[in-house]
Symmetry: C2
Subunit: 450 residues, 2 copies
């Protein structure tokens, strides 16, 4: 197991860090949707809107949010000495353990902030959509903290195959429904043409949005990829900087798994700013699944953020909003694109990316368990695998380096996936160039919409 | 969520505490079994034998064991302020969180010590039996630490219904087999007359013992109730004393759930000694399931420690070794008796006991999750419920008190049980006086054996 380096010696930051103030370029603006969806409420609390446009470098963390953070933050930064020894590497490996809160992942950092702002804005009920349940659990916990009601639409296959996360949400008082649900219009339309087991996130989002029409006090919230979500996650990177500095260490490589981008962006943001402004050369490496290689094999262009075609278009690295991501176990990394912020950072060469197959990822996750005594979520195991590759490179090159992993969550509710790896039944799914080309060709040309 | 009070400010103790040196009475000796079982190896490493007879007050923790403890110890002592507030009690409630290691429970404290001693004694492979899997997981982790092979016989119904713990053990390299297993003689005999689903701990133990005949390098280890197990668990109580003293607090009531007795004995031992020797009056309250009320409704007499009738008899509070404990969710508290040490302490009035129904226990467990952000194992939720009752009593009486819960493990692999509580399908099972009387009547009279 890892040696705890500084679990509580650094203070929980008082402000989030706004990386936009360090960039020499603008993030391309969103394009409005061609059609609008009837009566759904996606209005953001004014504070969240402000956070996406502010020119301030530091954004105050409200006292109530910081008090909630203090229940488990600062999260421990641990040295993975047993893993280093196993890999016989001259590299030093640290991991920031974001899996030590009750929701099990970093998602709680933004869920709490959002619940706070919605609560202050007079909202009484938050609804959201969740795939495997990590985000839904974070929202359920955050709602309980601020006395909000909570409704979670969970993709039906996960609802039935991952009952533990559902139970956690229900014990926190959330109402959890499987999607598709015949109670919604979107659900009925879907069920008329599809198998009940073929629901997906896009449908769960559509059904959640429909829930907001129930009354004037319900709003829909979203966990990842938005500028404000990544802003809230910068608390991870800020703590890491403080903790490493107390140790007299300097990071050489920061590694996070990449879905929409909030865990990777959250740990990398302060380092990227340092690279731009202070001439530092810390590599920021994102690790995506080879089954969903948006940065490494996608295109940088305008696309929809979900499969409905009703959302604003954003400029991002995408595989196409109809891309049928293979059913890998890291559900949180199956998104067809990555956020416009991470996409722009990659476009301008400020972050790196690699794509890795899931059997390698689970091998590294299981190795991490045996050496460090902590089981990474399948998503987080991508970052672990990236660190293993870097550590091996350090041995081969003979060049030591200090590696920091964002260990975004625990995998104790994902043991069925680990069992399939252990049994040897897990397979890797290759995505062909043809599949990607075909999916990209389905994105409407932006000029048709403007 | 609880506020961390002192996760790392106290040092990990260098010695375990031997409570036998504080007692004014002897623990009754074991009686040898009438029949012996062929060729099985239950030989203990000499150090473990010494620990059951030593007159030394303090037993050195070997450096390698202490180094392993330091990976996660001292465990946090947390103040349950949100729970106190919810209960509107003048009591102060602390909980010692033993669920924060990778095995998920306090069992790792003794598993590591045992693996170390067996390894030093030249043993190459440890086998054990496990019900729900907490003990088996602890042994698997400990064996991996010291390079021992590990074989776990898991009660078949749990093997199939609790796949997550099985996967954890396998990821640590343990070989996990369901019991009954046709590969063993005991398994074949059982299968000839019973349903394959009706296996139990007694059979799993018998099959594990048979595994020791395979070669000269395999030994069987056991997790709870032995004097040396409770000795190893005193690290919990020693840390609590240090942590409370740093806070300027004095405990009034120490609470633990009661199965064979290792988690309760571990936290209570230093306090009981203080009561005897220094005139302190700290109440030590054990909480047992009303479905298995060995202390509150059993008899203090010689009985077998398992249903085989092959083990030595020990003098203990028992419901009879053929007592058919109802199938409650707290599998770790279903043992028909409690250890001879705890039994003697109860006999001499040094500890208290209450029995509580499981629906109340799960209500308190779920309340603990919502207020403190940590889900107790069903076993540990018994201790939480005991604390809730004490806190309510404090409100009713208007007498404040400082309560310390031994939170022996997490319940994240027991969510199916919590779901059944949440759904309202969980029931309480009453044990009748007749059932207990009948079961006690099956215990052979000691004179027949001597």
């Amino acid at each position: 197991m890892g040696r705890i380096v500084s679990p509580s010696k650094v203070e929980v930051p008082h402000k989030w860090f706004n990386i936009l103030t360090a960039l020499n370029f603008d993030i391309p603006v969103n394009l409005p949707p061609e059609r609008s969806s009837d009566g759904v409420s996606v209005q953001l609390p004014i504070e969240l809107v402000r956070q996406t446009v502010t020119k301030k470098r530091w954004v105050d963390i409200p006292a109530a949010v910081r008090a909630a953070y203090e229940k488990w933050r600062p999260t421990p930064l641990l040295r993975a000495e047993a893993l280093e020894k196993y890999l016989d590497t001259p590299a030093r490996i640290y991991y920031k353990n974001e899996g030590v809160n009750v929701s099990g992942s970093h998602k709680l950092n933004t869920a709490i902030a959002q619940a706070y702002y919605y609560h202050r804005a007079g909202v009484r009920r938050l609804v959201t959509a969740t795939g495997a349940g990590q985000w839904g659990t974070a929202v359920a916990v955050a709602c309980a903290m601020f006395g909000l009601e909570c409704g979670v639409r969970m993709v039906g296959t996960s609802f039935h195959s991952k009952p533990y996360r559902r139970t956690m949400m229900e014990l926190y008082g959330a109402e959890v429904s499987p999607s598709p649900d015949p109670i919604t219009k979107a659900g009925r339309q879907f069920l008329a043409n599809h198998d009940p087991d073929s629901g997906n996130m896009a449908l769960a989002i559509a059904e959640s949005l429909e829930d907001t029409t129930r009354d004037g006090f319900t709003r829909f919230c979203i966990g990842s990829g938005e500028l404000y979500s990544i802003l809230h996650q910068t608390i991870i990177g800020l703590e890491v900087k403080g903790q490493l500095s107390m140790l007299g260490e300097e990071a050489d490589v920061i590694i996070g798994s990449l879905g929409a981008g909030s865990n990777f962006g959250g740990i990398a943001a302060p380092y990227i700013a340092d690279n731009i402004e202070n001439g530092k050369k810390v590599r920021c490496l994102s690790v995506e699944p080879s089954a969903c290689p948006k940065l490494t094999r996608g295109e940088y262009r305008y696309d929809f953020t979900d499969s409905s075609g009703l959302t604003p278009m954003e400029k991002m690295y995408t595989l196409g909003h109809h891309f049928a991501t293979p059913d890998i176990h890291a559900g949180g990394l199956r998104y067809h694109a990555t956020s416009k912020l991470i996409s722009a950072l990659y476009h301008y060469g400020l972050v790196e990316a690699i794509a890795v197959p899931q059997t390698d990822v689970f091998a590294s996750g299981a190795l991490f368990l045996r050496t460090e005594g902590f089981l990474p979520a399948p998503e987080s195991a991508h970052a672990v695998h990236g660190a293993v590759l870097e550590a091996i490179a350090a041995r081969v090159d003979g060049i030591p380096r200090t590696i920091v992993i964002n260990l975004s969550g625990h995998g104790y509710f994902d043991l069925a996936a680990y069992q399939s790896w252990h049994d040897g039944t897990m397979v890797d799914i290759n995505v062909t160039d043809d599949e990607i080309r075909k999916s990209l060709s389905q994105i409407p040309d932006v000029k048709c919409i403007l």
